[in-house]
């Protein structure tokens, strides 16, 4: 028994890196899928690469990556501490709605309005996320469940508000009124706005906090072994609430960036249809919460998804294929982890 345990701990070093292998396997499986559907897989993959990484398409990829990487950070921050925030959707729409409504009522210079909108959105979504942490630390409601369940009322209520009290009656659509041009995010070039820089800055901050601060160290230790952190003197309740606040605040900020930077209004459902929350969660899981790896995985998924649009345009292979590829990557990783842990 002893020997087996020792062997199992050495074994991973003899294996090729799991992420690369998972990507390879998913490419093979996805390629086979394309092949049996009667298309040329190499052509499809070429379009994905061209459509995401060529000079012309790079800004599109980055624009798509902004919310996706943002939501990756949402998941990674909590996952790093061993908590799962499944409430990204709810926090996203809360941030989005706040950012869509505040500029309609707030006077003052545009820059001040957008900064206020961004920070209020972060604050609101962050506080909403702490509800789940509070429920767990005080009442023992598992955060995995409560964070997800809290998402539904948030989505429902924001949808109601956008459809009824705050609806822009000049259009026939379930959306709020356009925000004034002055309050929109500064455009860098084409589709890219300052929101991408903001997410990049947050990403750098998250990595820095993770590696170089006491809070990051304590969160890592918590994620590694909750009881060890508690035994070492970390205040677990305060840590859970603080972490969920940060996680939710980033989600709120992502919602605000999409609203203030691209959609200019809150359109019911528009923040949720691309499923940033879930792609982000998968990317974070791929790196088991390690921020730098999660960000890379988020960028990879963003490239895959953007490339998917191009592939659909050019080759008539449906872009769903890229989502399939994404899922297969995760599955292969999950299988490998299961194999690695068996018998311990």
């Amino acid at each position: 028994m002893n020997g087996r345990a020792r062997w199992a701990t050495f074994a991973p070093h003899l294996r090729p890196p799991p992420v690369a292998l998972a990507i390879l396997f998913s490419a093979l499986a996805g390629g086979a899928l394309v092949l049996v559907s009667g298309y040329n897989p190499l052509l499809a993959f070429a379009e994905i690469v061209k459509g995401s990484l060529s000079f012309d398409s790079l800004p599109d990829t980055l624009n798509w990556a902004t919310p996706l990487v943002g939501m990756t950070l949402v998941a990674a921050v909590s996952l790093r501490g061993g908590m799962v925030n499944l409430g990204g959707d709810g926090q996203l729409v809360i941030g989005g709605l706040i950012a869509a409504l505040l500029p309609l009522v707030m006077p003052g210079p545009g820059g001040l309005v957008s900064v206020s909108a961004l920070s209020t959105a972060a604050l609101g979504a962050g506080l909403y996320a702490t509800l789940a942490a509070w429920g767990e630390t005080r009442h023992g409601i598992p955060m995995l469940i409560s964070s997800l369940l809290l998402s539904y009322p948030a989505v429902g209520v924001t949808s109601y508000l956008a459809r009824f009290p705050f609806r822009d009656v000049t259009t026939g659509l379930p959306q709020t009124a356009m925000i004034p041009a002055a309050a929109r995010l500064y455009v860098l070039s084409g589709a890219l706005n300052v929101g991408s820089l903001l997410i990049a800055a947050i990403a750098v901050t998250v990595i820095f906090v993770d590696r170089r601060t006491v809070a990051g160290y304590e969160l890592r230790m918590r994620g590694n072994n909750l009881r060890f952190a508690g035994y070492g003197g970390v205040n677990l309740e305060r840590q859970a609430i603080g972490t969920m606040f940060i996680s939710g605040a980033i989600a709120g900020l992502v919602g605000a960036i999409v609203v203030l930077g691209s959609q200019f209004r809150f359109i019911d459902g528009a923040l949720l249809t691309p499923a940033y929350t879930w792609s982000g969660l998968m990317a974070a899981l791929l790196a088991s919460g390690e921020p730098a790896g999660a960000i890379l995985a988020g960028l990879f998924f963003a490239a895959l998804q953007t490339g998917g649009f191009a592939m659909q345009r050019e080759t008539s292979v449906p872009r769903v294929l890229t989502l399939v590829l994404q899922a297969i990557v995760i599955l292969f990783l999950a299988i490998r982890q299961g194999v690695g842990t068996r018998g311990r």
Partner: protein, 504 residues
């Protein structure tokens, strides 16, 4: 002709050889000890004998004939029985149901419960293993559960009985009762294989011992003709100091005080029932007791992991009754927890990160909320060197360390706090002789440096060897407070079983 024989057994796990041409030969009617340090290959050998895994090479011979067990069912059919370290019983079923499980006497399609019950009662009577066939197993003490396990093997008429570390969970009287059962079974012509790393047990009960080291058989000795020193020498490959050297202590002020400490339990009875104790600077106070008598809850309340339901805890004069772990540590507490893997360390984290825990907020490891990785690494390297922790680099994760080395990481970290109070909970559980010796030396050194040490251990010999005073805990209460000179194995053993001095 030997009853059972293992010849040239080889078992590899990848690159690691757990059994390397192991030889074992056991005669009929003998109690045969299998000894060795952790990782010596004892358990691997037993699982091969019992058919739980197949050897890569070598052969098992039963009364001279080669056998090949593909599963424990084959082994049982050939007359072997095994009592595992963790019992394999159904807690919700009663005793006779557990014993006949898988071999029930039937009448038509139904279990003949009357016959089964009678057979179990008769079997228990015959082997003088007192159990109530109708008792629910979940309600029984560990000692009685072990009897159920033995009866389960005897019900299948096991001629060869393997017991893997059977005494780890027993009180001394229960242990002695087990040994007399084993002697009777041997006298009947059954063969007993006793896996243990406790020396005095092997001396007390076995006829012969086979000693494994690093997966090899290093000695096979007749117990009557050997000495503890020879066995230890064979187990470790060197001379080990068996006794703890300890001079007189220099008593100081009380550092850790508990008054009427109470912790509610799952049952109606509190887990910790108005416990008062005081540990002074320069002494080791040992808490003896069979595991599960409230020691865990007491320690959790003392260190701040659990809020007490009543009473008071003071560390160096500071009332920490309602405070969190950080406040306990700030008041002057270091703590070696019972479970080094589940509580005392983060297995996937590096040794440097593990050794930094508890120091992460203060200089030199951190300034203004930022950690200093260089200082963390330098400090870890210092501790690794000072405590001779066998790890190639402080960047390596501690999950790959052996039990002894992982415990050294925990001990190194907690001792480096230089806190006035140290609570050590089962500090040598599962460790081999060498690592145990090291930890014992460190605890005595702490006491000699004027620290107040509270030692909690289910290992009575450890308590008796190290403690200046012994408290005996039973069902959540402290039954007695004995000076080291008064504390003897027999009297403490009786107290551990709940018998106070007046009653005996």
């Amino acid at each position: 002709m030997p009853e059972i024989e293992a010849v040239g057994i080889v078992k590899r796990y990848g690159g690691l050889v757990a059994n390397d041409r192991v030889a074992l030969s056991v005669d009929r009617g003998e109690i045969h000890g299998v000894m060795g340090e952790n990782g010596a290959g004892k358990t691997t050998l037993m699982t091969i004998l019992f058919g739980l895994q197949a050897p890569d090479a070598g052969e098992i011979r039963l009364r001279g004939a080669p056998v090949c067990f593909r599963s424990p069912l084959d082994a049982m059919a050939a007359g072997m029985g095994m009592v595992h370290q963790s019992f394999k019983l159904f807690a919700s079923l009663n005793v006779w149901e557990n014993i006949v499980y898988g071999a029930e006497p039937t009448r038509g399609p139904f279990i003949d419960s009357r016959a089964a019950r009678a057979e179990v009662a008769e079997l228990a009577e015959r082997h003088r293993l007192a159990v109530d066939p109708d008792a629910a197993v979940g309600q029984l003490s560990v000692g009685v559960r072990q009897r159920v396990e033995i009866l389960k093997a005897l019900y299948r008429d096991a001629r060869i009985l393997i017991l893997d570390e059977p005494t780890a969970v027993l009180t001394p009287p229960e242990r002695d009762a087990l040994f007399s059962v084993l002697r009777r079974l041997a006298a009947e012509g059954r063969t007993v294989l006793l896996v243990t790393h406790k020396l005095h047990e092997a001396i007390a009960v076995t006829d012969r011992v086979t000693i494994l080291r690093d997966g090899r058989t290093v000695a096979s000795l007749r117990t009557a003709e050997t000495s503890p020193r020879e066995i230890i020498g064979a187990m470790t490959g060197r001379n080990v100091n068996l006794n703890v050297e300890k001079g007189p202590g220099h008593l100081g002020e009380p550092r850790l005080t508990a008054v009427d400490l109470t912790v509610a339990g799952a049952a109606a009875r509190p887990a910790v029932d108005r416990v008062s104790l005081s540990v002074r600077a320069g002494e080791i106070v040992g808490i003896a007791g069979v595991a599960g008598n409230g020691q865990n809850e007491l320690v959790e309340a003392l260190v701040g992991l659990r809020r007490p339901d009543g009473g008071r805890v003071e560390i160096c004069g500071v009332d920490v009754s309602a405070a969190d772990v950080a406040a306990h540590r700030a008041a002057g507490l270091a703590y070696i927890p019972e479970d080094r893997a589940a509580v005392g360390s983060a297995l996937q984290a590096s040794a440097a990160d593990n050794l930094a825990m508890g120091f992460q907020r203060a200089a030199p490891l951190a300034r203004g909320g930022l950690v200093n990785p260089g200082a963390i690494a330098a400090r870890a390297r210092g501790l690794i060197r000072r405590h001779a922790i066998r790890i190639p680099s402080e960047r390596m994760t501690v999950g790959r360390l052996s039990g002894g080395n992982l415990q050294k990481v925990v001990v190194a970290r907690e001792l480096s706090h230089e806190s006035p109070v140290l609570i050590a909970e089962q500090p040598t559980r599962g460790l081999d002789v060498g690592a145990t010796e090291y930890i014992h030396e460190r605890l005595v050194a702490e006491r000699d440096n004027g620290r107040a040490v509270l030692l909690v251990s289910a290992e009575l010999s450890e308590i008796l060897a190290l403690s200046d005073r012994v408290l005996v805990m039973f069902e959540g209460r402290i039954l007695d407070d004995l000076a080291q000179a008064q504390a003897e194995e027999e009297s403490v053993g009786l107290l551990m079983a709940g018998r106070t001095r007046e009653a005996t």
